[in-house]
């Protein structure tokens, strides 16, 4: 806890306090607490089935907690849920892409329901992630890694302050991981926050990067 005093902002933006969750008979999350400050990356680690995805879904508001509090900017959810969701970009295991639409169409519909966006901006972001050649192909025709890159492009385009990413680098190659780490670092420098579930840690040893171990 002491380490957090050195963090960039004195007030945590996002806080989980003693979150408990049962899935059926199983007591999955047993009083998980963390605080996330502006400009930080928190990576949730732990073996398969320990509840990393469930914790992320709880924080995002997709799963109700049995007990405990999720606090965003001082307000306990679900109070101010819509404002919270406008500041949140969530990436699940599935990419949330329509296989019959092109990458560009997917991004257009995915981002436009949150904010107005131009086609140039969409193409630029695809270029940043080196998938500009896939822009006009149906997502069905892309490789698993390319799909993931398009899904990450959507996260970047939402301009949300908080990114919650479930295993974001699944299927990415080394170059893709390096590209994405650079984007994450940029997001942190701009004051953004990232909460991930991960088996492979990103930006290890960098300032503002922490891990939370579930057991």
């Amino acid at each position: 806890m002491l380490a957090q005093v050195a963090a960039t902002s004195p007030q945590p933006q996002l806080e989980a306090r003693a979150v408990h969750l049962w899935r059926g008979e199983k007591h999955l999350l047993r009083g998980v607490s963390f605080a996330l400050y502006s400009g930080e990356l928190l990576q949730v680690v732990g073996p398969n089935g320990v509840g990393k995805t469930s914790l992320l879904r709880c924080v995002a508001g997709l799963l109700p907690t049995e007990s405990g509090e999720i606090v965003w900017q001082g307000r306990q959810l679900p109070e101010g849920r819509d404002e919270f969701h406008r500041e949140l970009a969530y990436l699940a295991h599935v990419n949330g892409l329509k296989s019959d639409l092109t990458a560009l169409e997917n991004l257009h519909f995915g981002v436009s329901i949150r904010r107005p966006v131009t086609t140039e901006e969409l193409r630029e972001t695809l270029q940043v992630l080196h998938v500009e050649a896939c822009a006009d192909l149906p997502v069905r025709a892309l490789s698993a890694g390319q799909k993931r890159r398009v899904a990450l492009a959507r996260i970047m385009l939402t301009r949300a302050a908080l990114w919650i990413l479930d295993e974001p680098i699944t299927n990415l190659d080394k170059a893709g991981i390096a590209l994405f780490e650079a984007r994450i670092a940029e997001h942190m420098r701009a004051g953004g926050m990232i909460l991930t579930a991960a088996h492979q840690l990103l930006l290890q040893g960098q300032p503002g990067v922490r891990t939370l171990e579930l057991r």
Binding site: Q13, S38, A60, G61, L62, L63, P64, Q73, D82, E83, F84, H85, R86, E87, L88, Y90, A92, V94, N95, G96, L97, K98, S99, D100, L101, E105, F109, G110, S112, I113, R114, R115, P116, R159, A161, A190, G191, G192
Partner: protein, 233 residues
């Protein structure tokens, strides 16, 4: 970055976006979109074969046949309403978009009706004629189906949102939705029947319109609540 809440698009804009997206998807999946319509035509064709080709006999049952076939056809179409979006993760994105989920789902239901309900309405006079319905009944048939299939779409969408997380939930969906749809069927078939006997149809037509208004105004909130429960599991 966090301090400025990005400007969000208006509700009308969102409605148009969902409409445009689903229409574009439908164009690329036109074979699936046509299925309920083909089902409707085939089911109504079975009755002359099974009962009697005599128009006098068919005429008596034609309002009921067209209406039951329309109802089953709209039920068949529900499977494709929310399931694809839930399975590929799009629905989660919508739930977390900060936009009113009820509006997003209503827009989806409206598009779905345009693609699966409206073709039934337009096809109904042809099917009706094949069953011996006089031409004079066409306007009433089209009006009742236009009002009725709208109600069926909204009611079905509530059921579809509730059962979308259930594997092979289509039978459950039918058991859930069909009893609720009975008033629509009763008033719809009754209005056509009255019209065939040359009697006034304002009563049942007004009731159908009232049902549609009721379902469209309250249904989206039920859909959104049901969808949140389904996405949670």
């Amino acid at each position: 970055m966090q301090s400025s809440i990005p400007t969000t698009p208006g509700l009308g804009k969102i409605l148009m976006l969902v409409l445009a997206r689903d229409l574009r998807l439908a164009v690329r999946h036109w074979d699936q979109v046509l299925q309920p319509l083909i089902f409707f035509v085939i089911v109504t064709t079975l009755f002359p074969l099974a009962i009697s080709p005599a128009l006098d006999e068919l005429r008596k049952i034609s309002p009921g046949v067209v209406w039951v076939a329309a109802m089953l056809s709209s039920l068949l179409a529900l499977e494709s309403l929310f399931r694809p979006d839930v399975e590929d993760g799009t629905m989660e994105q919508w739930v977390l978009s900060g936009q009113p989920l009820s509006l997003l789902l209503l827009a989806k239901t409206l598009t779905h009706w345009l693609l699966t309900g409206l073709p039934l309405v337009l096809m109904a006079p042809i099917v009706g004629t094949a069953l011996g319905m006089p031409q004079s009944v066409w306007p009433v048939l089209v009006a009742t189906l236009a009002l009725g299939t709208g109600s069926l779409s909204v009611l079905g969408a509530i059921g579809a949102a509730l059962t979308v997380s259930v594997r092979r939930g289509s039978v459950l969906l039918a058991l859930l939705v069909l009893p609720l749809e009975m008033p629509v069927l009763i008033f719809g078939a009754r209005a056509v029947d009255l019209a065939m006997h040359g009697e006034p149809v304002a009563g049942p037509l007004n009731l159908l319109a009232a049902l549609l208004l009721f379902f469209v105004s309250l249904g989206p909130f039920a859909m959104a609540a049901a969808m949140r429960i389904s996405v949670e599991s």
